[in-house]
């Protein structure tokens, strides 16, 4: 308690010192204010903390209680994970309590440089970028167009081909629904894969209800589509092929260039959901013959709530807009753009280009370290292709451990067993099923996401913690005990349940 108080004070005093040393404009402003204020007010201003602290631990505790209460029967598994949890916490005294963030596929932290770009829109640049009668509109519009240029630059597109949206889900819906609807007179067929993100799968299913045929391609046990199968699936009335660039659960990268040339050959539009790939793996829409591409801002350290879709202009790809309105964004996405989000997104895009080499080298290095560390635990395996992958996403199965209980025992590491959208349910991942994993293995899989801000120290901590706790949980598992005794689990006839 005492210590906490002191740390707080030191921090505040440091803050004030920094403030005084910083740019003359800032300190000048402060001085001006104190001159104007009365003595009492000045005293108040100095006593009031500039610092606002968010207690994340309380929220985490609350969530644990809620989750535990939601599980009706206090089964053995819950008991064991709780003790694993206590076991895990006892050794951490002297350190903080906030978990290490390793769920980069769900979202990434906002880069401070992005926030710096965004702040001016919340403090002064509030004009509507579509107002063309005054300077407030012009200045915001200039920033929006600059962002568009940066977003286009990452994938070698023309800025005019970028349509801003609210995120990849909207972009995917726009494409999956908009393109077939526009060409519905002559084309009735859509091709996609079984491992797509939920929003693509659901949008495709919605099109079935509108009378379209949808082919869901299987993937092999590495998670890759079979190009021959893809080509054979194309029919004369196929209008769209949608294959994701990098899978959000297993990080597998599809052969975009090959798919692009097949689509070009058969004159079918090629869409790729690049939410997990944009800015992380090299993409060139021209070289890869991509006609439509979905992007999300918050996966590249940008703000949440922004995204984009690339729509090729030459040859022109037509699509029915989902929103009717003022005709913004080439009439494809009506509605006022959010300049703070768009500009933040643009800065994030500029940064992924600027930091590309450093980010890739850093993430690759940490990923190798993590993969090596995790796979050195007995009975573990990497899910998805080891070769065709984005290194920042590592999905590992820990046999004979229940993924949920491992996650419960790991409040000090923020991880996920799959996509954020489905992790609320206990249903095993459909992506892992698609690559041929059985229920048990799918249930024991965990996804690790490494990003720009992950440190080596964090990776070391994670490898150590996972190794210890997998061992601990396995010691409690009757299955593991049987395996150690040499019993073949497949030979057992389980009695009813």
């Amino acid at each position: 308690m005492l210590r906490q108080g002191i740390t707080g004070l030191t921090r505040v005093s440091r803050l004030l010192r920094v403030g005084a040393n910083s740019r003359p404009a800032l300190s000048g402003g402060i001085r001006l204010y104190s001159k104007a204020a009365s003595n009492a007010a000045l005293k108040f201003a100095d006593d009031a903390a500039l610092e606002t602290h968010t207690d994340t631990e309380a929220a985490a505790r609350e969530q644990t209680v809620t989750r535990a209460a939601a599980t009706s029967s206090p089964s053995e598994v819950i008991g064991s994970s709780t003790s694993a949890l206590q076991n895990a916490y006892a050794e951490n005294t002297g350190f903080g309590t906030r978990p290490i963030y390793l769920d980069m596929q769900a979202t990434t932290p906002t880069d401070p440089r992005v926030l710096d770009t965004m702040l001016k829109f919340y403090t002064g640049l509030y004009g509507n970028p579509h107002s063309n009668t005054h300077a407030y509109g012009w200045e915001t519009n200039k920033e929006v167009e600059n962002a568009r240029k940066n977003v286009a630059n990452v994938i070698n597109a023309d800025p005019k081909e970028i349509i801003f949206t609210s995120g990849a889900t909207e972009s995917n819906n726009m494409v999956l629904k908009g393109v077939p609807r526009f060409y519905k007179r002559s084309k009735k067929h859509i091709i996609t894969t079984r491992t797509e993100h939920k929003c693509v799968l659901e949008a495709a299913r919605a099109m079935v209800n509108e009378g379209f045929d949808v082919t869901f391609l299987n993937v092999d046990n590495e998670g890759l589509v079979n190009l021959k199968e893809l080509e054979e699936a194309i029919r004369p009335d196929t209008c769209l092929v949608s294959v994701m660039a990098v899978n959000n659960e297993i990080g597998v990268m599809q052969p975009l260039k090959e798919i692009g040339s097949i689509c070009k050959k058969h004159k079918v539009y090629f869409h790729t959901d690049a939410a997990q790939a944009y800015g992380k793996v090299p993409i060139d829409v021209n070289e890869m013959n991509i006609d439509l591409l979905s992007v999300s801002s918050h996966k590249i350290y940008g703000p949440k709530g922004a995204g984009a879709v690339f729509v090729r202009r030459r040859p022109r790809v037509r699509l029915d807009p989902i929103f009717s309105g003022g005709g913004q964004e080439r009439g494809l996405r009506s509605g006022t753009l959010p300049p703070p989000l768009v500009a933040g997104f643009g800065e994030a895009a500029r940064l992924v280009v600027q930091e590309n080499d450093a980010d890739i080298a850093h993430i690759k290095r940490l990923s190798e370290k993590l993969t090596k560390g995790l796979l050195s635990i007995p009975d573990t395996s990497l899910n998805g292709s080891a070769e065709h992958r984005y290194p920042g996403c590592v999905n590992v199965s820990f046999a004979y451990v229940e993924g949920e209980s491992l996650l419960m025992a790991m409040r000090d590491i923020a991880l996920s067993s799959g996509s954020a959208c489905t992790s609320a349910s206990l249903e095993p991942s459909y992506v892992l099923h698609a690559i041929g994993k059985d229920d048990a293995l799918a249930h024991s899989s965990i996804r690790f996401g490494i990003g720009r801000f992950t440190t080596e120290e964090e990776v070391e901590y994670v490898v150590d913690a996972i190794s210890k706790r997998v061992k601990f949980l396995r010691e409690l598992s009757p299955l593991w005990e049987m395996v150690q005794e040499g019993i073949d689990l497949n030979s057992i006839e389980w009695s009813g349940h």
Binding site: I6, S13, L16, K43, D46, D47
Partner: protein
């Protein structure tokens, strides 16, 4: 238990004796105890040397094996390049709560130079 209470106190004392009282007047009035302040008036070179050596030892990019004394040179003995040296000086600045002017920083080649400058600028900033 005692240890955990004692440590932060020592930290505060260390912090307070080198900071300008003016800065502390509002934030930490209770820490402006005179016995702590008179220490800085009779700055002891040995004490400063010891602290500088401690900072160097805690600095993670030095040759750990090197025996650090007042004669130690940053580049020659510790293998620090000019950028590392800047970081070491920042660590020393933070520990002593002082500021080396840029021109001075470039001239500080070793422990002795640094201690000398700190001793001559007891309340520098």
């Amino acid at each position: 238990m005692f240890k955990s209470v004692f440590r932060p106190c020592a930290a505060v004392a260390k912090n307070a004796r080198m900071t300008l009282p003016v800065r502390n007047s509002i934030l930490m009035p209770q820490m402006m105890v005179s016995p702590i302040r008179f220490y800085s008036a009779t700055t002891d070179r040995n004490e400063i040397t010891q602290r500088v050596v401690d900072v160097i030892k805690a600095f993670d990019r030095t040759n750990a094996s090197a025996d650090i004394s007042s004669k130690t040179l940053f580049h020659k003995d510790l293998g620090l390049d000019s950028l590392d040296t800047v970081e070491l000086l920042v660590a020393i600045e933070e520990d002593f709560d002082i500021q080396f002017p840029d021109k001075v920083a470039d001239e500080l080649k070793g422990v002795e130079d640094t201690v000398e400058w700190i001793a001559n600028h007891p309340e520098s900033e």
